[in-house]
Symmetry: C2
């Protein structure tokens, strides 16, 4: 991973000022997805596979009465398929990751991005004060934010 | 995916100017990884599995004499493990994706991010004029760039 704090070929004294002339979201709550496809822990694992295959879904959030109880990534699913012979008899609750990293909605977006990198996750469920699932932010959301920001910067360099 | 072109709660007339007072990379060549772990197409698929399991590698680039011939993602690997019983007899060349999307090193970073989103890939091999592999850019690189940029913007809003 490369950061651009290094100054390869650029003098320390050279300060390039780039202008972003648009509102920039700062907090996860401003951009998180609020309508989330969820499953219950008692649903059959066999139901998950066509869901992942037929859509461009990489993460399934497992919820009981609005409370987050687990997360299932497509990697977890494929690993199970590869290693377990009786996977079609399993339930979502037996396969999901129960200690998923979550964030509150007022998390700074830079911190959400840092967490995705340091904890190697592509998806952060957003949990409110009452412990209920309120949203989801994924690496695709972050890449979309970067794209918009970078397009402005590429055009605006002074 | 949400873009922040929308102006929820922000008047059209309100222009927030954010300053980025550092050099901002514009092209893929400025930040791509140049030292890449590659495999040959005749290597055994069985060699791939411990490589993916033991490292935090999600993509393996397949090269012959410096020319890119294919890409193998961990998703492809796990799918194979799940669907093929004789996977340990296969070769890398039989399993890899041969029509991987590639980009030239002078691609704008905003365009690389846009391609990752529209083509749903996390990894873009960078191929030079002579058709040889010269680098690699991944979604983690993009998230790292966003993090640095966003940290500055969160601190600098006027």
């Amino acid at each position: 991973m490369l950061s651009f704090d290094s100054n390869d070929g650029v003098s320390n004294k050279q300060v390039i000022k780039n202008m972003v002339t648009m509102p920039v979201p700062k907090l996860v709550s401003e951009i998180m997805t609020r309508e989330i496809k969820t499953l219950g822990p008692n649903q059959s694992f066999a139901e998950v596979v066509p869901l992942l295959a037929g859509n461009h879904i990489h993460h399934i959030i497992v919820v009981v009465e609005g409370f987050l109880v687990g997360v299932l990534s497509d990697r977890d699913v494929y690993r199970q398929l590869a290693s377990v012979s009786n996977w079609n008899t399993k339930k979502v609750g037996e396969v999901m990751i129960t200690n998923a990293l979550t964030i509150p909605p007022e998390t700074r977006l830079s911190h959400a991005a840092a967490l995705m990198l340091s904890r190697r996750v592509n998806c952060l469920p957003v949990v409110g004060e009452q412990g209920k699932l309120v949203g989801l932010i994924t690496s695709s959301d972050i890449i979309g934010l970067y794209k918009s920001l970078q397009e402005q910067l590429e055009e605006s360099e002074l």
